[in-house]
Amino acid sequence: MWIYEKKLEYPVKIKNKNPKMAKYIITQYGGPDGELAASLRYLSQRFSMPTEEAKAILNDIGTEELAHLEIVGTMVFQLTKGVPPDVLEKMGLGAYYSDHDHAVYPVSASGVPFTAAYIQSKGDPIADLHENLAAEQKARATYENLINLADDPDVIDPLRFLRAREIVHFQRFGEALGIVQEKLGQKKFYMSKPKEEKLAESNKEAYGLKK
């Protein structure tokens, strides 16, 4: 379970409105490499993790991503608060305003609503942890794009914090992958599914050795 603490993980205090920037930043709220996807991915995958370290790391990073979701939502909220509809429209948020007014809704920068199809939970810890390593790199790259688009230090500062966290998460997932690989032993792990003979068969097929 979770208990709410009335604070952010990192402070957000944006003085100047900038709806255009909000339209870009919202992609880390509900976009393909965003914090909602990250949290949902890790909190779902944790159930099928095989080691104590991996369960803990997925549980706790999944939880931290919820705090990041809140930071990103706060940024979008503060960047658009009280901005009149005609200004939103000029800044490219006319369509968003039609559907959501000034509310925060999980969409990508291009306006695609959030979907669970962004994530995978494969029941194969090696596959899942590799997905997570890639996800952290994609999130880091997105934050770098957002930092390149931003010019307000109030906006850049929390974006830099979030970018740095993706690098730490990548590091921790790498360590978890090492631990999982070591504990299971690659060979033994693949024995369980699919069976060794079936693997050999499919290899033959792939190399065109099977008649």
């Binding site: 208990i3 993980e9 944006i14 370290e53 803990a56 921790r172």
Partner: protein, 83 residues
């Protein structure tokens, strides 16, 4: 008073963040004695500051040990409202 309140809250946020970062590290390095003592140091410092904050300004969690009348939990600012 608003300034003082925010200053204290930021200090709590900093210690809690340091603790979270250590926590993640320890999840993959559970035998690092120095990291465990650092983690515990951050957590203890945060607890002392949180206790001080909740006495002075109101609850950080709904289960704060200083319940007052009227119900203080609903009071603004919420975390997204420091602008």
């Amino acid at each position: 008073m608003v300034k003082e309140r925010e200053k204290l809250l930021r200090e709590i946020m900093a210690y809690d963040f340091a603790a979270i970062d250590m926590q993640l590290y320890l999840n993959t390095h559970p035998h690092d004695v120095r990291a465990i003592s650092l983690h515990n140091c951050y957590v203890n410092r945060s607890r002392i500051l949180k206790d001080m904050y909740e006495r002075l300004y109101g609850p950080l969690t709904a289960s704060s040990p200083y319940p007052r009348y009227p119900w203080k939990w609903i009071e603004s600012p919420w975390p997204w409202e420091y602008q």
